[in-house]
């Protein structure tokens, strides 16, 4: 980028007047042009931008259609990797099943720094990022997410709604 005129030149009394008046008119031209150009902003609550699929929101459990649940094996890697200790994972050993079953996966989103360590360390790829960016609430308890509950809601509500419609 180059500025053609010498900005520091000594312009003299009338030279300054001429230079100044010209520059001011050019400035007015730029803003007048912009006045008639289309707007570039998005009226947020009325319209929404498409969010990229790579957006990193808070974490969610991945739905496994084969088991109807999630793949979590309660190894606790995510909870250990978390820099802000915002993940709590609990599971219990059930009779006749291999490994543990997930009973609690809670995320304290008030502390989360969205680094993605949990998703990267998960050995079963049972965690993913949410696409939800319209997050707002009145109490901090609203951001203590129960991810199992959220998983159930995500995958049962559409089915229930479809059944109700018929």
């Amino acid at each position: 980028m180059n500025v053609k005129t010498d900005l520091r030149a000594e312009r003299g009394y009338f030279g300054e007047l001429w230079f100044g008046a010209k520059s001011l008119l050019i400035g007015l031209k730029v803003t007048l042009k912009a006045l008639f150009k289309p707007i570039v902003t998005v009226q947020y609550p009325r319209e929404e931008c498409d969010i990229t699929p790579n957006y990193r929101g808070h974490v969610e459990l991945v739905f496994n259609p084969e088991t109807g649940g999630c793949d979590c094996i309660v190894c606790g890697m995510c909870a250990r990797a978390c820099p802000s200790d915002c993940i709590t994972v609990k599971g219990e050993k059930k009779e006749g099943e291999k490994g543990k079953t997930l009973t609690l996966f809670s995320l304290d989103f008030t502390k989360c720094s969205l680094c993605g360590s949990c998703v990267e360390t998960c050995p079963k790829s049972a965690l993913t990022y949410s696409q939800d960016y319209n997050i707002a609430g009145f109490t901090r308890e609203e951001f203590h997410y129960d991810l199992i509950e959220r998983l159930k809601r995500r995958h049962q509500q559409p089915l229930a709604a479809a059944a109700g419609g018929n």
Binding site: Y13, L17, L24, G27, L28, V30, T31, L32, A34, L35, F36, K37, P38, I39, V40, T41, Q43
Partner: protein
């Protein structure tokens, strides 16, 4: 009831109503134009394209508490907004909106208007002093110095027109522009007047008394609610006055292509011209950075005053020859 008294009351009501209406129109214009210059839609929520937003804002301002800061002088603090607002209404009385739409015809109409607009400085001085806030005080220093020094080129540029018409009466000046507008023979005076008018009304790029990034809000930092909105109304009323003087003296006032109801329809041309000039004021505000204080003074003393003097001299010689 004597007809003269009735006339005065009607005039007073109409003028005050017009001042409020003007502030609303200008507030809407300013916010819409600035928005589109910045490529955003601006007001959109209240009413179609946000036209009712200013009414809602007004209600909000009326409903707000006027906070009087500790350590201020409460009487002066409350007085300042009124002092700012009242003189701004008075010039409207003599402005000829069309041939017959003029409340009072005065032989010295121009001098009367200029005198009334100058009182605003006192209000700013009182406001800044009474607030007991250093930022307010800064704004006041600046405002007074600015208004006093820009009065000179303003008057000198107007004097050139007055020499040509030999009249202080606004109707007389409009009548003198029967064949051509004075902007054609006095372009320098027009530009000087318009620039000084920007400074006089504290509009950007000369908005030093309320320079946001330096003085937070300048002389009205401490004002809230109606106290603030009186300053706001006064600013817009002053802008209107400045532009209507420019229209009357340089753009032929209410004269234009004759429309039906000639005696009254001139108001359409008058308002078109005035709001055209106001558009330029708003447009300039959203384009330029703010000048520095000493540069403001340098510009006044080094450029505006010599040029207006020279313009006056040339006009005087020309008037003598012709």
């Amino acid at each position: 009831m004597p007809p003269e008294l009735l006339r005065m009351i009607i005039t007073a009501v109409l003028v005050v109503a017009f001042v409020f209406l003007n502030a609303m129109i200008l507030g809407y214009m300013e916010r819409k134009i600035s928005a589109h210059i910045q490529r955003r839609p601006g007001l959109m929520e209240v009413g179609p394209h946000g036209v009712l937003q200013l009414i809602v804002d007004g209600l909000k301002l009326i409903g707000k508490q006027l906070v009087v800061p500790e350590g201020s002088s409460p009487f002066l603090f409350r007085l300042a907004p009124l002092l700012s607002f009242a003189p701004c209404v008075l010039p409207f009385v003599v402005i000829p909106f069309s041939r017959k739409l003029q409340a009072v015809s005065m032989d010295v109409g121009l001098i009367y208007i200029l005198a009334m607009t100058s009182i605003n400085v006192v209000a700013v001085l009182v406001a800044g002093w009474a607030s007991n806030n250093k930022y307010s005080l800064f704004g006041t220093f600046r405002s007074v110095a600015q208004a006093v020094s820009y009065e000179i080129p303003m008057l000198l540029s107007l004097l050139a027109v007055i020499m040509m018409t030999s009249s202080f009466s606004l109707e007389g000046i409009i009548e003198a522009q029967k064949y051509y507008w004075f902007i054609l023979i006095q372009p320098v005076a027009f530009i000087i007047y318009f620039v000084s008018g920007l400074a006089e009304t504290n509009r950007a790029p000369f908005d030093l008394p309320e320079a946001e990034s330096e003085l937070t809000a300048g002389f009205h930092t401490e004002y809230s609610g109606m106290g603030f909105s009186f300053f706001f109304l006064a600013e817009y009323a002053n802008m209107f006055t400045v532009c209507s003087i420019a229209t009357i003296l340089f753009l032929g006032g209410w004269k234009g292509i004759p429309l039906p109801f000639y005696d009254y329809s001139g108001i359409i041309w008058f308002l078109l011209k005035v709001y055209g000039l106001l558009f330029v004021m708003i447009w300039a505000r959203w384009t330029y950075p703010r000048v520095r204080f000493d540069q403001l003074m340098t510009f006044c003393w080094k450029y505006l005053i010599p040029f207006s003097m020279a313009n006056l001299l040339i006009t005087a010689i020309m008037v003598k020859i012709i």
